[in-house]
Amino acid sequence: MLTNEIFEKLKSEFGENILECNDQQPVDHFIVVKSEKLFEICHTLRDDDDFLFDYLMSLSGMDLNENLGVVYHLYSMKLKHKLVLKVMVPKTDPKTPSVERIWRTADWHEREAYDLMGIEFTGHHNLIRILCPYDWEGHPLRKDYQTPESYHGMKTSS
């Protein structure tokens, strides 16, 4: 299935929760959805006979200055088609549903996105830092991140 066909089918099921479909630009075609119904949308994408996206290839966080975003790359082993799904959350309250219960891969990916970008995945069973030390302050890959002077008495600058 092509991205615009998936978009039409999702639109008929979830209505205005599906925001836009970008299939014009010379990049991977993607669909933007609202974060409220994300869990149900992902459930449909995995279990519907037309989609069968059984493989989450990657989950990445991004910083768009006023918003934070999460990008899901999906692949169907059976139907051999791909989908890029995007969701935006405001920086003041970066909460989005966790898809860890749908694809187990998302467990560590969501912990990484939380660690480095500060996106909070509600419903994740163990949302703690994965790369930085547990007592690290801030989320380092955000654009407005200020590098601290020192960590445990060790200087960060040379």
Partner: protein
């Protein structure tokens, strides 16, 4: 010391060598260094080549140990992050004296490519533990490892074992004159 070359053609009269005990002890120490390898990044991959048969690191008498308590020196190969720095310090403190440190590669020497913008990288392992030999390179070639090992052996050979304090005091008083 070239003693092995003499095995086929020994000294006359049974082969007696006169020397200082200190030199013999140092010779033994420098030729059997057991090490704790702390591999952190690509330098550790290069170090695997160093350990394989072509370059044969064991010809220096070095044997890899898995415990810091059995090691004479620790080899820091790779990027030292803050998270790892604390562990390195613990391992170094667990080693028995006399102990040495070899810092391998740009990252552990000075921070390497992360020297300016790495929020997570310690800018040189010498900020937390004293380093005896720095091996430059990114990553260093096995020849550089050999050079570094020879440097460490030279350093051990020149070290004082007996009456260290007395000698140090004498040197200091000599300096003051």
């Amino acid at each position: 010391m070239g003693l092995l070359n003499r095995l086929d053609d020994p000294y006359e009269g049974g082969g007696i060598v006169l020397g200082k005990i200190e030199d013999i002890l140092n010779w033994g120490r420098s030729k059997s260094n057991w090490y704790l390898h702390f591999g952190l990044a690509c330098c550790a991959i290069e170090f695997m080549a160093m350990n394989a048969s072509h370059f044969d690191f064991m010809r220096f008498g070095t044997i890899p140990r898995t415990s810091p308590r059995q090691a004479d020196f620790i080899m820091i190969t790779g990027t030292v992050t803050f998270k790892m720095a604390e562990r390195i310090k613990i391992l170094y403190e667990q080693m028995a004296e006399p102990k040495y440190v070899i810092s391998v590669g740009s990252c552990s020497n000075c921070g390497g490519p992360y020297w300016e913008h790495g929020y997570h990288v310690l800018k040189g392992v010498d900020k937390i533990i004293p380093v005896d030999v720095y091996i430059p390179g990114c990553p260093p070639r096995p020849e550089a490892f050999q050079e570094g090992m020879i440097k460490l052996q030279k350093k051990i050979n020149e070290q004082a074992i007996f009456n260290k304090r007395k000698r140090l005091k004498k040197e200091q008083s000599d300096d003051n004159k």
